[in-house]
């Protein structure tokens, strides 16, 4: 189980980087860069710039998000920041403030 979980009472002020999935139930301030998926759960609070492959957000995120694959904003999430990703899903009930950049590849 190479699964990283940042529990709900944990506060990290700094940088997180790695090559595996990361689940955040607590608070992370600073910067997150992953090569896999990031899950910000309902209790999770992230005040950080995020660089990853996939992100699923059910909690709160303040910061810019850059995903190489997909960003998913789930119901009840609160996201403030710019999102850059080829695929972006925003669920009904999600609140989001910021720019979306899907960086459409030149298909013409």
């Amino acid at each position: 189980m190479a699964n990283t979980v940042i529990g709900s009472s944990i506060v990290i002020d700094g940088e997180i980087s790695g090559d595996e999935d990361l689940v955040i139930q607590g608070t992370v301030k600073g910067k997150i860069s992953l090569k896999e998926s990031l899950f910000v759960e309902g209790s999770g609070v992230v005040e950080a710039d995020i660089e990853t492959q996939n992100v699923e957000i059910a909690g709160r995120v303040t910061g810019n998000i850059a995903a190489s694959d997909k960003v998913e904003l789930k119901t009840d999430c609160r996201v403030v920041g710019d999102i850059k990703a080829p695929r972006i899903l925003i669920a009904d009930g999600a609140s989001f403030k910021g720019n979306v950049d899907m960086d459409i590849p030149k298909e013409r």
Binding site: M1, A2, N3, T4, V5, I6, G7, S8, S9, I10, V11, I12, D13, G14, E15, I16, S17, G18, D19, E20, D21, L22, V23, Q25, G26, G30, F39, E41, G42, S43
Partner: protein, 232 residues
Amino acid sequence: MATAKELAPGAVNNTVVGQSILISGKLTGDEDLTVRGRVEGELTLSRTLIVEPTGVVKANVAVKNAIVSGVVVGNINATESVELTREGRMVGDIHAPRVIIVDGASFRGRVDMGEVEPGRMPSDRSALPRPTGATVRPAVRPGAAPARPALPGARPTPPAAPAAQARPAAAPARPAPPPAPAATRPAPPAPPAARTAEPTRPEPPRPPVAAPVPPTVAEAARKKVVVKKKGR
């Protein structure tokens, strides 16, 4: 893997830093933390830190308990215990009431279990000085002011001191200043003289101190001055 994620919200005390993860900065929390990857910076938990064999913690750590099977570089301050298992490697200082180092573990640094100092080891003897020391302490404050003029008196008084120690009950009964300074440091009369000499030196210019005081003290004072010069 999916089950782990599902379980995680319920199992609150379950923070894991996976093998490929690097966290650098400040980490605080009220739950157990298992480190399989790397944490650098500062780590504060009100519960247990578990550093697994693949884990590396390069941080100053404040926790309740720490179990180290991996690598820790930095100081660990634990309110309960620190255990280095057979795979544990640590460089840094440990401050904890309970410290366990298992055969196979390697460690370089200081261990401070607090409470018991080497002074307590001859337990019978230390039992006496401690209470007297306690009674002396309050006496020092009122006695501190007279201590300087009492300088010449320091030598004749020592006989009174053991009497005060012999009856610790009498000491608190009489917090009167005159016996107090003698009681504070009964055994070595010289060191207190040195301390009292310190403040006297800067106050007046050098020789006037000697004039009103017996010549022996003046000699002593000079000697002390010389010593200080050497020291500097």
